[in-house]
């Protein structure tokens, strides 16, 4: 559905993107993550045909964005950063204008405007001047305009910055709803955002793609946590250390009966096999297992690791 092939974008001396490649299939909800200045906005502007890459190709719905921008733009709903809007217009005037520019005829436009206004909960401000709206409303008006033509693809640049927590939840719910029927790419530097809405994340750092994967894969760590009543902590730890794949153990705080261990796995260790071995050992020794689980990294940790590695390799 969407493909970036070796995209490089240079602004004068600055390289905003350096050889970024990624493929996104139809129906995915993808978070574009990275610190400010990582190239998220540039990548989105290239996808919507607002900027041309210095080299490389962006493909959307089988079309080269640079060669056929209009056909691509007809399929995309785009919300630029900070949701720019014509502040002198009334909300319904603005939506009518966008609908007419998208080629919707008057009757269909009225129908669609009512539908998207209800979806984005802006029906009560349709008659207000855009310049007088709160940031939350403006953001939702921008979103409503982006989905007017029922596009297959939604590209949202920082859709929740500047909103208060309640508004963030509203916009997030809206994006999740959109994600059920559309391909969505959203950029953010707020991590919980991605966790709440996206199935997959692309992490950009300094113009390069540093990580790409499902959130569940990226947050899966290479350690296993065990809480069990083993009868003897030292013996148990020795045993655990010898299990396949385990490169180290640490013992956590114990109460009188239960001990906790954390098994570190080597880079090639099979976490599932190790977990099964732990279970077998526990059964053989008659341990009472309370917990046996793969540790989860928070997305913050993933993000920090990725960006720290990036800094170290420079």
């Amino acid at each position: 559905m969407i493909e970036l092939r070796q995209i490089t974008k240079r602004y004068g001396e600055i390289e905003a993107l350096r050889g970024v490649s990624a493929t996104i299939s139809a129906g995915e909800v993808v978070g574009l993550l990275g610190p400010i200045g990582a190239g998220k906005t540039t990548a989105m502007k290239i996808l919507v045909g607002y900027l041309l890459p210095t080299s490389g190709t962006a493909i959307v719905a089988g079309l080269d964005v640079a060669a056929d921008p209009l056909a691509v733009q007809a399929r995309i709903g785009y919300l630029p950063e900070n949701a720019p809007l014509y502040s002198d217009m009334l909300v319904h005037e603005y939506l009518s204008f966008m609908a007419a520019m998208r080629g919707l005829d008057r009757g269909a436009a009225g129908q669609r405007i009512r539908t998207v206004a209800a979806e984005c909960s802006i029906d009560d401000v349709l008659g207000r001047t855009i310049g007088q709206l709160s940031k939350g409303y403006r953001q939702r008006v921008g979103l409503a305009a982006a989905i007017l033509h029922d596009p297959e693809i939604l590209i949202l640049d920082e859709p929740t910055t500047g909103l208060d927590p309640n508004q963030i939840v509203e916009v997030r719910d809206l994006i999740r709803k959109m994600g059920q029927s559309k391909t969505v790419i959203l950029s953010t530097h707020i991590l919980p955002e991605v966790q709440a809405t996206c199935g997959r994340v692309l992490i950009l750092y300094d113009g390069q793609l540093r990580a790409d994967g499902r959130i569940t894969d990226l947050t899966r760590s290479r350690s296993i946590f065990i809480r069990a009543a083993t009868g003897g902590a030292a013996a148990a730890r020795q045993l655990l250390e010898r299990l396949p794949g385990v490169t180290g153990t640490t013992q956590g705080d114990d109460d009188d009966k239960f001990q906790t261990f954390r098994l570190a796995l080597g880079p090639n260790g099979d976490a599932d096999a190790t977990a099964e071995a732990v279970f077998d050992a526990a059964r053989a020794r008659g341990w009472t297992l309370r917990e046996l689980r793969r540790d989860e990294k928070t997305l913050e940790q993933v993000f920090r690791e990725v960006t720290e590695i990036a800094e170290m390799t420079q």
Binding site: K45, I76, Y86, A100
Partner: protein, 240 residues
């Protein structure tokens, strides 16, 4: 074509949503009437014509058209709304054309508001309508040329003041190279060429009621050239 109309309608509304349209119309009509009766001494001359009006209209357009065009793209760039427009499935010439038509319509309204003057004068004496119609046509053509220059300049910057000043200077230069004072400094052939590419002398002949196809083509090609340059400026943004 439909999108041109949609853009033009939005631009017109934007003009009237802000004070610009009103300030332009009041300034244009007010200054036209003031110069007609005072500086061009309509009553003292004792002639039932509108020569006084069409003497001052080129200068009024020169001063006021840049005020109409300065916001056309600079404001969009400043507010970020240019990103909305340029990511719509619309061709650049549709956007440029729509904005041009809106600004041209406003100039047309300004000129139309001076029509009562023509009615009045024709009541006072035998008005020769030829030069009057020629004057209005010439003013619309001259206005179109200035508007396209202004739009082009506005597409180059996000600073409206800068857009105003540069458009004013460029329009002034296009007028000025044809004036006696300036072209007289050059040899005959050169000065004739300068008058030919200048915006002024052709206006004077149209305003005398002499409608020459070459003059018409001149204004249309200047307008077309700068509108095409505006499209080029928008296209170049993608390489930013």
């Amino acid at each position: 074509m439909n999108r041109i109309r949609v853009v033009a309608a939005r631009e017109l509304r934007a003009y009237f949503n802000s004070p610009i349209a009103y300030v332009f119309l009041v300034a244009f009509v007010g200054a036209a009437l003031f110069t007609f009766f005072n500086m061009q001494a309509f009553f003292a001359r004792g002639q039932a014509d509108l020569r006084g009006l069409f003497e001052s209209v080129p200068f009024l357009l020169l001063l006021l058209v840049p005020a109409l065009t300065m916001r056309l793209w600079a404001e969009e760039a400043k507010q970020g709304t240019i990103e909305l427009l340029l990511t719509l499935p619309a061709r650049h010439h549709e956007l440029v054309g729509g904005k041009f038509l809106a600004s041209w319509a406003l100039v047309g309204v300004g000129l139309a508001l001076t029509l009562p003057l023509a009615m009045t004068v024709s009541n006072l004496g035998q008005l020769d309508w030829g030069p009057v119609i020629g004057g209005y046509i010439g003013a619309m053509l001259l206005g179109a040329a200035y508007l396209s220059v202004g739009q082009f300049i506005s597409a180059l910057t996000e600073n409206q003041i800068l857009a105003f000043i540069l458009a004013l200077l460029l329009c002034l230069a296009m007028w000025g190279i044809g004036t006696e004072a300036f072209s007289g400094l050059f040899a005959d052939r050169m000065s004739a060429a300068m008058r030919a590419v200048a915006t002024g002398s052709r206006f004077r002949s149209i305003a005398r009621g002499v409608l020459d196809v070459r003059d018409l083509l001149y204004y249309l090609s200047v307008t077309f050239f700068f509108l095409a340059a505006s499209v080029g400026a928008l296209r170049a943004r993608r390489w930013a």
